[in-house]
């Protein structure tokens, strides 16, 4: 039996961008973008579910994000996750990778014991690939990056295949451990229709607050209780719940990374140049590449 926690993120669908999506402070205006399940995180969840199927245990998913990230958490349920946590607080807004990994590590500690922490290698919005490794450091865990497959887990030692330049290597590591999973590792399973029918009505604390506020006949505590009973409650954690958290290390002011300017770079090609397959032709190509500092 091995218990896993999977860090997942809802990201802007960078393949379908329209309109003004960058704010003046250099952060992304998420409200302007369709949000999707970061694909490498979905593959990380797939890997965790495979561990559960083979060895037993539970799979919890955790995300730090705005309330609408609950849509993605529901999708985690549709794939087979047992429990979901939304880490949401206005105080987290503007966090860079350092602040994010700090919050996530605090939340993971709060959730409790685990054998594996999984994450996608990187999210398609920032492409930093930093949050996984930083979280491992903060939790003082061994980490294996670029993971493609978990070959075996035995006596608390995991045998893991990871991608390296020009091939793969197989490593062994002692649990608990944090793994970052690379694109193409394992095709995520389709959603289960039954689970969709069950978990489509799963709610976060924020969802329930909204419902309770809009209806004087409903009581928040009762709603929470009712949803917990049916296993339809998405645990929602804020700075209040994470009591040990140091608020100076979170949010915009806890983030040393500052984006000063974002430019849209359009790569434009010029006319095609035909190069004759002769000594002269190749020589002039080499000269041109040297002049452009492409070779050098």
């Amino acid at each position: 039996m091995y218990n896993s926690i999977v860090m997942v993120k809802q990201v802007p669908d960078t393949a379908n961008i329209s309109g003004k999506v960058m704010k003046d402070d250099g952060t992304v205006n998420r409200a302007k973008l369709p949000a999707i399940f970061n694909h490498e995180d979905k593959e990380a969840l797939e890997l965790a579910l495979q561990v559960k199927e083979q060895y037993g245990g539970t799979v919890s998913v955790i995300t730090m994000g705005p309330p609408r990230a609950s849509d993605m958490l529901k999708e985690c349920f549709y794939m087979g996750a047992d429990k979901a946590y939304l880490i949401s607080d206005r105080k987290f807004a503007g966090s860079d990778t350092l602040a994010t990994s700090y919050v996530l590590s605090e939340a993971i500690t709060h959730i409790g014991k685990f054998d594996f922490v999984f994450a996608g290698r990187q999210a398609i919005d920032g492409d930093t690939a930093q949050v996984g490794p930083q979280t491992a450091e903060k939790l003082k865990l061994s980490q294996v990056t670029y993971v493609e497959e978990i070959k075996k887990v035995e006596n608390n030692i995991a045998r893991i295949k990871r991608k390296i330049d020009g091939g793969q290597e197989v490593v062994e590591a002692q649990l608990p451990i944090l793994l970052t999973v690379i694109k193409g590792a394992q095709e995520p399973r389709p959603f289960s229709a039954k689970k969709i029918m069950i978990y489509k009505s799963a709610k976060t604390l924020l969802d329930l607050e909204k419902i309770a506020n809009g209806n004087s006949l409903l009581n928040l505590d009762e709603l929470i209780h009712e949803h917990k009973d049916k296993n339809l409650y998405i645990e929602t954690l804020s700075t209040t719940d994470l009591s040990d958290i140091d608020v100076s290390k979170i949010g915009l002011h806890g983030s040393p990374t500052k984006v000063h300017k974002v430019e849209s770079v359009v790569l434009s090609g010029g006319d095609a140049v035909k190069i004759e397959p002769t000594r002269e032709g190749i020589g002039s190509l080499i000269d041109e590449l040297l002049n452009d500092h492409i070779l050098g």
Binding site: S192, A193, M197, I198
Partner: protein, 573 residues
Amino acid sequence: MPNFFTDNEDLKFHFNRFDLREILEIQEDNYEQKKRFNYAPENYEDAMINLEKTLELVGDISGNKIAGRAAGVDEEGAHFDNGKVTYAKGTQENLKDVAKADLAGMVLPREYGGLNVPITIYMATAEIMARADGSFVNIFGLQDIADIIKKFGTDEQKAKYIPKFSTGEHTGAMALTEPDAGSDLQACKLKAYQDEDGQWRLKGMKRFITNGNGDVHLVLSRTEAGSKDGRGLSMLACYNDDTVVVRRIENKLGIHGSPTCELQFNDTPAELIGKRRFGLIKYTIDLMFRARLGVAAQALGISQAAYEEALKYAKEREQFGKTIYEIPAVKNILLEMRVQLETGRSILYDVAKLVDIKEKLEGKLEKLKAAGEPFKEINNRLKELTKRANLLTPILKYIVTEDSNKITYDSIQIHGGTGYMKEFPVERLARDARITNIYEGTSQLQIVASIGGVINDILKDDFDRKAAKTYSGGLERLNDFLKEIREIFYESLKYVIDKNDNTFQDVAAKDLVELYSYIYTGYLVLEEAEELSRKKFIANRYIVTSLANAKKNAESIKSELFTDLLHADEILI
């Protein structure tokens, strides 16, 4: 990320106008199932959300997984080595995905692990999946085997066979056809006998059995030794054990992913499903409604794929300094295809709902009878519905599968020489469509099956009611055209009846059935045009074309075209 449900505006239009209230009320035991199953819906609205989400899931798997594998499945096909059938790699992956998504038993009841979706939604699923890979639907649709066991089997049989269909561990096969019994199933010879222990055993051959390598077979067998006709046939279930030998699989024009097997049963242990002697006259006939609906859904899905390819190609391909889409003759073909596609869909879901409610009421009737409660009202309604289903299921299959052949050929035509090449998917679509107007009863048999209802004009009251309605704007003109088609139909019918010649009537049946189908379909699209203004174009082209076709049908009948049948032997040298 193509989703074959959400990207299909016309299918969504139909989904949004499905009125499944009565069907779901019976199917969900007045929503009592929620108490036993956490994935059952709370009420009608909840059920519709579940069904929509299910179709979104089907659309996702079809668009993002199954479709991408279809060319590989077609090229590789099912294998037969050392007596063992293996699916193409893509088919195997499809089966795994479908099982993981809980769709393998979507039409089966919850107590046996199924999703308990109505037939109407099951047909939408078949349509969506067929758009991705026509051949896969042949295997997917065989969850019907478990559904027949649900309808006619004992509780013990249900518990034994159905759950493994729901999980996708088992697939099935419907073994009806034999070397000498194709369209004429009464001629079945495969013998079922009881050994000294009373165990039923099967001995004999079956041919052209779709998925004959499946795990559970339903076998139409002669239990009454010495009998010659359909009344000596019963339905038996058996596992595909060592006594069932696949002798060969067929090398087919299309649907390569679906293995078509010749089977030999060597004293195979089996058990009776339902009552003896009811195999053909009740269970197979009953099965045919579903099978024909399924084939129509399959054909429609293939048509959708062919249309999409044609439209895409026409908009990309440039000739004479413009896209060929801009050429009126090409655009006109696309319009014809689109109208056939959409009217086909209108018929499919109208008939699907009809068969759906018919089956639900049959279940309800059984329950009322068992409880000793009055059932006369339901019984009368059922009689009416069965009459309609007997007429409309064959009409549906006839029209949609013939149109699918036309649409896939037109798609090749729009592609020009490119469409003839294997690199493009349209030639595969045409090969896959080609079986749909043959199996589960040829088009000619569908005409035979529906002509009785046409001659008796059983939709008369319906048509009268619809004709008397007032339609908005230009649609009244289309109603007038439909009235004109009706007059043409009655004149043609009278001509055939007055002639009082069976041979003449047999060949004229095709024209009469087509005439009747124009009126039926015409009123369906006229109603849709009242709801959605874009549909006015579809209704207009369909009804105007139908009026022209109706005149042609009438002319074939009245010009005595068929009298040369008398001289056939001289002509057919």
